[in-house]
Symmetry: C2
Subunit: 317 residues, 2 copies
């Protein structure tokens, strides 16, 4: 653990964000770390409330994530899916047998009326996750992708259509009315640093910022707010960020991401491979750190987390 | 297939009943066989609608039943349960990974508003079950066991408490108001024979008869109505029937079962081992058949089904 007694808030989406959150969780005392997670990917499937990004963060922090896919749990089996396929049931969304325990418990608790926040804490606690993992809101927000011909719920776009349709626009249904929970607001108010994990800016970070009150308190926070680029050398490390940015006419680079988020950032971390972009980002008024941002293993996650906190001025070297 | 063109209705609960239903399904053309199944065991668990007896009948007819337990599916795995246990979730009711596909599909369809009957037909059709398997009612009926100290939902008594509490009485919540479905009524009206499968009379057959209109049309049907004793030599072949009958002050024998059901029967089938009881049952006004009723394998199921239909006068020898 680091010697800091500072409060760290991290905003995260899926796999890339979860990796940095894992690094932070290794060096920040659990009571000092809050991870606010995108719930715009949530959807109902077979009567289950499925929270892909929360699960990825939770499983990753618990050391239970599937190391190959990045999502789901390790040592997974797929026998429910095999039986579902025999029934001719929907098989486009993979539900692992072990993973199902999470969906069943969460869905049942939500149906019984427990707050989403409580449900998430309870799942985390039982998995041994000690840092606070918070859904961005108690209210539903749903990422909707406007493709060429049709509107797609995010999981339909992402999983069923494998990100193939060209994206014309993205909206976050319900975001205007959704409120960040008390716990989310308190965490940000108490934060000494806010870290924007290297998640897809368009469908992981944007939904969080789409909540007007959440965006406002993040923008107003007078603390270091550090983004980490999910784009390295013009490519997303994982997922469809680069393709989506291209289709939406954005510059597919660390500069493009920095530009997109600059109103809520004070600093930005880019990879050595993108050193050429440092000046452009500095010129936006952001401090910059150039380092190795690709997290190939647990050590790299911890090292990047340390560097991000040092860059934010939170840690004594 | 038999050369009969007669319509056969079978009433069934769990494992024993499902075995005879399987036998009937091998010799009666599918469009001529309707199996009406107890739903008093149904319960909600983890947000899933679970239908133990329907599943046992359906899996058995599909050739998919677990040959060891009698319930659940063969080649089952238990990884969801292991993950649920890790969460400290409820583990008293075993949900196999493959079995979960059934519960998820059924629960989701019911939640979407599809009739229970449609849902059951659809599951059966997709598993290749061609005979009609009907829940006894669209409306909920719940078997409640009054034990020494407390009232227990049937699955709590049967699974969680392993039938240990002494039974003082049994009631069927909702039965007074529940109506048999149109399909159930039609099947009985068209029936040329009604077979009471060797299921627990108290918690498999009684809930069916607890629907006033269902009992009335069965009682009024002027066709052979043949019971098969689930008690042989004073013991239940499976399950708690003997223990429950003892605790409720009934004679634990084929005679006790015949006495319990005689108002709705015209004939009763007992095992060779109970030949000494034949006279007592005949004296109740029931025709009797003494034969081998223990169904140790598929051949025995088919043979007993044949004998029952011959006894009912449905088949030409």
């Amino acid at each position: 653990m680091t010697n800091t007694s500072k409060n760290i808030v991290a905003l995260a989406g899926g796999v890339g964000g979860a990796k940095l959150a894992y690094g932070l969780a290794q060096i920040v005392p659990p009571e000092k770390l809050t991870i606010i997670v995108n719930t715009g990917d949530d959807f109902e499937h077979l009567g289950l409330h499925i929270s892909p990004d929360l699960d990825t963060v939770m499983y990753t922090l618990a050391g239970a994530a599937n190391p190959v896919t990045g999502w789901g749990v390790k040592d997974e089996s797929w026998n429910m899916m095999a039986a579902l396929a025999r029934y001719g049931g929907p098989t486009w969304f993979q539900l692992g047998d072990r993973d199902l325990a999470t969906h069943l418990l969460r869905s049942n608790w939500l149906r019984e009326g427990y707050p989403y926040n409580w449900v998430t804490q309870e799942l985390c606690r039982r998995l041994g996750v000690r840092s606070a993992v918070l859904p961005m809101s108690e209210q539903p927000v749903r990422t909707i992708v406007q493709a060429e011909e049709e509107e797609l719920a995010f999981q339909e776009y992402f999983v069923e259509k494998q990100c193939k349709p060209a994206v014309k626009s993205i909206r976050f249904a319900g975001a205007e009315e959704a409120q960040p929970s008390k716990e989310v607001i308190n965490a940000i108010r108490m934060a000494d640093t806010i870290v924007f994990c290297p998640s897809n800016p368009l469908v992981s970070i944007d939904p969080i910022l789409a909540l007007p009150n959440l965006r406002r308190i993040i923008a107003a926070a007078q603390v270091p707010k550090i983004g980490v680029s999910p784009i390295v050398k013009g490519e997303a490390l994982k997922g469809p960020a680069a393709k989506m940015m291209t289709e939406l006419g954005m510059e597919v680079s660390a500069v493009g991401v920095a530009k997109h988020l600059k109103d809520v950032l004070t600093g930005f971390v880019i990879d050595h491979l993108d050193e050429a972009h440092q000046e452009a980002i500095t010129n936006m008024g952001l401090r910059t750190l150039v380092t190795a941002t690709i997290m190939k293993n647990d050590e790299a996650r911890v090292r990047l987390a340390q560097e991000v906190l040092e860059f934010a001025g939170v840690r004594n070297k």
